[in-house]
């Protein structure tokens, strides 16, 4: 079956190879609030809102780009892991893929709704940071779990 919206199978491994270190480093630097000085640069920005200052459009601001780099790496590698073809990508796998995607969106928003109700103030910032990555993460976990179950459970018959 020809599907145009998936990456070739080999990118799944490439994605995992990048995703695991960037997610771990990203999480650690976020928790420890670590920012290496040499990555503090003047960067272009579309919308600028300065503390005790004006709001304006288009300009340059001083910013540490370490978290941007890690965030971009995590998102791109998650997309590769999530949307690379399986070795035998057929219509049955596509159905499992679609079901897992719907499930992941539901689950993600269920978690977000619970967080809305029970997490307040600055702690909610953490929820928003994690929520940027969780749809893809939940999808990857659920889809691969389903594929694993399928391969394991299916009894071989001659």
């Amino acid at each position: 079956m020809k599907v145009k919206y998936l990456f070739p199978n080999k990118y799944k491994k490439v994605g995992l190879f990048v995703l695991i270190p960037s997610a771990i480093i990203g999480l650690l630097t976020f928790i420890l609030n670590y920012e290496p000085d040499f990555l503090t640069l003047n960067v272009p920005a579309i919308f600028i809102n300065e503390f005790f200052g004006d709001n304006y459009l288009f300009g340059f601001i001083k910013n540490n780009i370490f978290n941007e780099i890690l965030g971009i790496l995590t998102i791109i590698s998650s997309l590769l892991v999530a949307f690379s073809k399986e070795k035998s990508e057929d219509e049955f796998i596509s159905k499992i893929r679609l079901e897992s995607l719907v499930w992941a969106v539901y689950f993600n928003y269920a978690v977000l709704l619970i967080s809305f109700l029970f997490i307040y103030g600055l702690s909610f910032l953490w929820v928003m940071v994690f929520n940027m990555f969780t749809v893809l993460l939940f999808f990857i976990i659920r889809f691969n779990w389903q594929i694993f179950k399928l391969k394991k459970s299916d009894s071989y018959e001659e």
Partner: protein
């Protein structure tokens, strides 16, 4: 929907893996269809009919529950 893939496969004396290769799908898909867990697309159903050299209606039959 019921199907007689397993019977047709026995007539031809081929394994799930053989049929999977012929139909260009994974063995899990063949297994899921035989167990009634997956209803194939029209394209796959037609491919199976061609492989078994029978009419498509000889492999797949509607059940009462398919109308609800």
């Amino acid at each position: 929907m019921k199907n007689s893939i397993k019977v047709e496969r026995a007539k031809k004396n081929i394994t799930q893996a053989d049929l999977a290769t012929l139909a260009k799908v994974s063995r899990q898909t063949i297994n899921a269809m035989e167990l009634g867990k997956y209803v194939p697309s029209t394209v796959l159903a037609l491919r199976l009919a061609e492989i078994f050299e029978v009419e498509i209606s000889e492999i797949f039959t509607l059940e009462e529950s398919d109308w609800s």
